[in-house]
């Protein structure tokens, strides 16, 4: 529902102008709420009404606002307030905290679309008056003197657009699904990925190590090799076990082919990390012929941008892992430019971290065997996510089969 607030002043009761304005809203298919009403106490006192107009589409809303404007209902054109940041990395008091939804700010009598949509940031204004540029900026990137929007006056947030009809996301809605025909849902996702690819949008894959442990890495590798994934976010573990599998045929010491534990297998992952550290980087290991298969090898071969973000429990870590969390976030921000679909599989940590950075316009699916992961993601504001509760091996193999990548 789109909303706009208008103010109506004058002898609006005696003139029936208030009745007329409300009738116009309803007759045009809108709804209203009178959020403020101050009735004059004498015949010459004027009445003030603040009316919130609601409509299903922005076009309808604009049409209604235009019509009632002729009868004196003036749109709130209050300018956004702003103040300079008091020092590097600090927002001024009363700053406006962003959502991941499309947002506009009123500056110089004009609505400006806020760029780099991201939740939990501030809006920074650059330039003057009508030529102002507005963009989201995270706390650590704020420089002293940055002009930061304060309060919510002059800020307009657009609710998420209706899901594209025919896409998997349209019939899934924004909810967790554990009791739906999964093959059908995955077929829908495959269709959405085909459409995104044809529109030149990138697909982002966020994965956890269970993909390797369960033997689903061949499917993921196939998807990468077939050009279905352009960006990969993961941690030290996914890459480590993928490389362990490539070098020793095990994941966490268990033979992927037979499911049997191997002697001294628990050391394999550390030996794998050591091999890569010795080579210099994953790419160096590929170039020197040490790393011949696997997900990471496919990323290097296919030019997929990947970001491995470190965590406090990491062994090693691999030399490619970015251990500074803030630097990792910034790299993720760079890599999500142009992403249209995000597929998050079997990782709570990286799914939530990615969800925090994505605009709500990115179609997001979160797959986990535990519904809790999906719920956590949505609770942290990634309301656009659709959750599919299933095993990651089944999901990836089915997706690869649908996309003929296996």
């Amino acid at each position: 529902m789109h909303t706009e607030t208008v103010q109506l002043d004058g002898h609006i009761i005696d003139s029936l102008v208030l009745s007329k304005v409300l009738d116009i809203i309803l007759l045009n298919g809108g709804l209203y709420e009178i959020s403020r009403f101050d009735v004059g106490s004498t015949r010459t006192d004027m009445t003030h009404a603040e009316i919130v107009i609601k409509a299903n589409s922005r076009e309808l809303l604009e049409n209604i606002v235009h019509q009632v404007g002729q009868h004196g209902a003036a749109r709130d054109v209050e300018e956004a307030h702003s103040a300079p940041a008091p020092s590097d990395g600090v927002f001024p008091d009363g700053f406006y905290s962003t959502t991941n939804l499309d947002t506009h700010v009123m500056v110089g009598g004009k609505w400006h679309l806020v760029g780099k949509t991201e939740m939990d940031c501030a809006i920074v204004l650059t330039g003057d008056g009508a030529s102002t540029v507005a963009a989201c900026k995270p706390l650590h990137k704020i420089a002293k003197g940055d002009q930061v929007v304060l309060g919510d006056r002059g800020v307009r947030v657009t609710p998420a657009a209706r899901r594209e009809p025919g896409s998997i996301f349209s019939f899934m809605g924004s909810e967790v699904s554990s009791e739906r025909p999964k093959e059908l849902i995955i077929a829908g996702l495959a269709d959405t990925m085909r459409r995104a690819k044809s529109e030149g949008k990138k697909t982002l894959f966020v994965g956890g190590p269970a993909i390797i442990h369960t033997g689903a890495s061949d499917a993921l590798e196939g998807l990468i090799r077939q050009g279905w994934i352009q960006v990969l976010f993961a941690g030290n573990a996914l890459a480590t076990h993928d490389i362990e599998k490539a070098l020793y045929g095990t994941s966490l010491g268990v033979e992927i082919a037979t499911g049997a534990p191997t002697s001294h297998g628990h050391e394999h992952h550390l030996r794998a990390i050591n091999v890569i550290r010795s080579a210099g980087s994953i790419k160096d290991a590929v170039d020197s012929g040490i790393l011949k298969t696997g997900v990471m090898k496919a990323c290097i071969d296919e030019g997929v941008d990947f970001l491995l973000a470190g965590s406090i429990r990491d062994d090693g870590p691999l030399p490619d892992v970015v251990t500074d969390a803030v630097k990792a976030q910034d790299r993720m921000r760079e890599l999500i430019e142009g992403v249209g679909i995000a597929i998050m599989v079997a990782t709570t940590l990286h799914s939530v971290a990615t969800g925090n950075l994505l605009p709500a316009s990115v179609q997001t699916i979160c797959v986990d065997s535990d519904a809790d992961t999906v719920i956590k993601l949505m609770d942290r504001g990634t309301h656009q996510a659709f959750g599919l509760v299933t095993d990651c091996e089944f999901f990836l193999k089915e997706l690869a089969r649908q996309l003929k990548a296996l």
Partner: protein, 272 residues
């Protein structure tokens, strides 16, 4: 309007009256006014107002580039409260008429008036769209004046203001379809207004409804001075209804001004 003191009006002799542009439904470049006849008709209106009805008329000289300046009702609206000497000057919707404002401003300033103007981008056309019914200011909007100007007038004058929407381009100003012969009573043509406005008029005032053919003769564009009403000629039905209310009607032929969409009221502005 008190009948005790001599009523005062502002008029503009038609020395540069012509039809050079089309800004309302009455105007047509093919239907030019006879300017000599117009001068004769204006002189007869002036004579009726001054000699017959007994009004005192002030004159303003017409500017050569302002053909519609003869319609002084659109100059603004006088603050009638005792002790004030103010006029709320117009901001015309059409650029063709905006040229009149500095001439009116000069005249009023030279005669000791404080001149106020509406906010920028807010159109408002003086007595053309604002008429008193007793203590209530009735104001028209949409065709020429913006409704926002009504709030401004109400604030400046401290009066209750009823806003009426005009819906037919032939009655583009309130004073083409509405007048008040006395407090509490209104003469109007309903076809010029939307249904809300008609309801407001009927709820607040005792009314005489004008027939369409007389509304098209600009019967409502009449000047009321006490118990005398100077009305465009050719409106016998309204004449007899107003006579029943105790008024004396003085018809004046104003055919050459009707070609520009104006008549008796448009040619006069009430002064305090």
């Amino acid at each position: 309007m008190s009948t005790q003191t001599k009523p005062r009006l502002l008029m503009c002799p038609p020395t540069a009256y012509s039809l050079d542009y089309v800004i309302n439904a009455w105007m047509s470049l093919e239907n030019q006014p006879d300017v000599d006849l117009a001068a004769t008709q204006w002189a007869e209106l002036y004579r009726t107002l001054t000699e017959v009805v007994g009004a005192e008329v002030e004159l303003i000289e017409q500017a050569s580039n302002a053909p519609d300046m003869v319609f002084t009702a659109n100059a603004g609206l006088i603050d009638r409260r005792p002790g004030t000497n103010r006029i709320l000057l117009s901001r015309f919707r059409h650029a063709e008429r905006q040229v009149e404002v500095p001439f009116f401003r000069n005249w009023f300033e030279a005669h000791g008036y404080e001149c106020l103007e509406p906010a920028e981008k807010q159109f408002y056309e003086g007595e053309g769209d604002a008429l008193f019914v007793g203590d209530i200011l009735v104001a028209g909007y949409l065709k020429r004046s913006d409704i926002a100007s009504h709030t401004w007038m109400a604030e400046q004058l401290g009066v209750q203001t009823l806003s009426l929407e005009l819906t037919d381009g032939r009655w583009y100003h309130l004073d083409t379809a509405f007048f008040s012969p006395m407090p509490g009573r209104v003469v109007y043509y309903p076809g010029a207004f939307d249904s809300y406005a008609v309801q407001v008029i009927e709820q607040n005032f005792e009314t005489i409804v004008v027939e369409e053919n007389e509304a098209l003769r600009f019967a409502c564009n009449s000047v009321v001075l006490g118990k005398s009403i100077v009305m465009p000629s050719g409106c016998p039905i309204l004449t007899s209804k107003l006579e029943a209310w105790g008024f004396t009607i003085y018809p004046v032929e104003l055919s050459e001004f009707l070609k520009a969409g104006g008549a008796a009221k448009c040619l006069t502005l009430h002064l305090p």
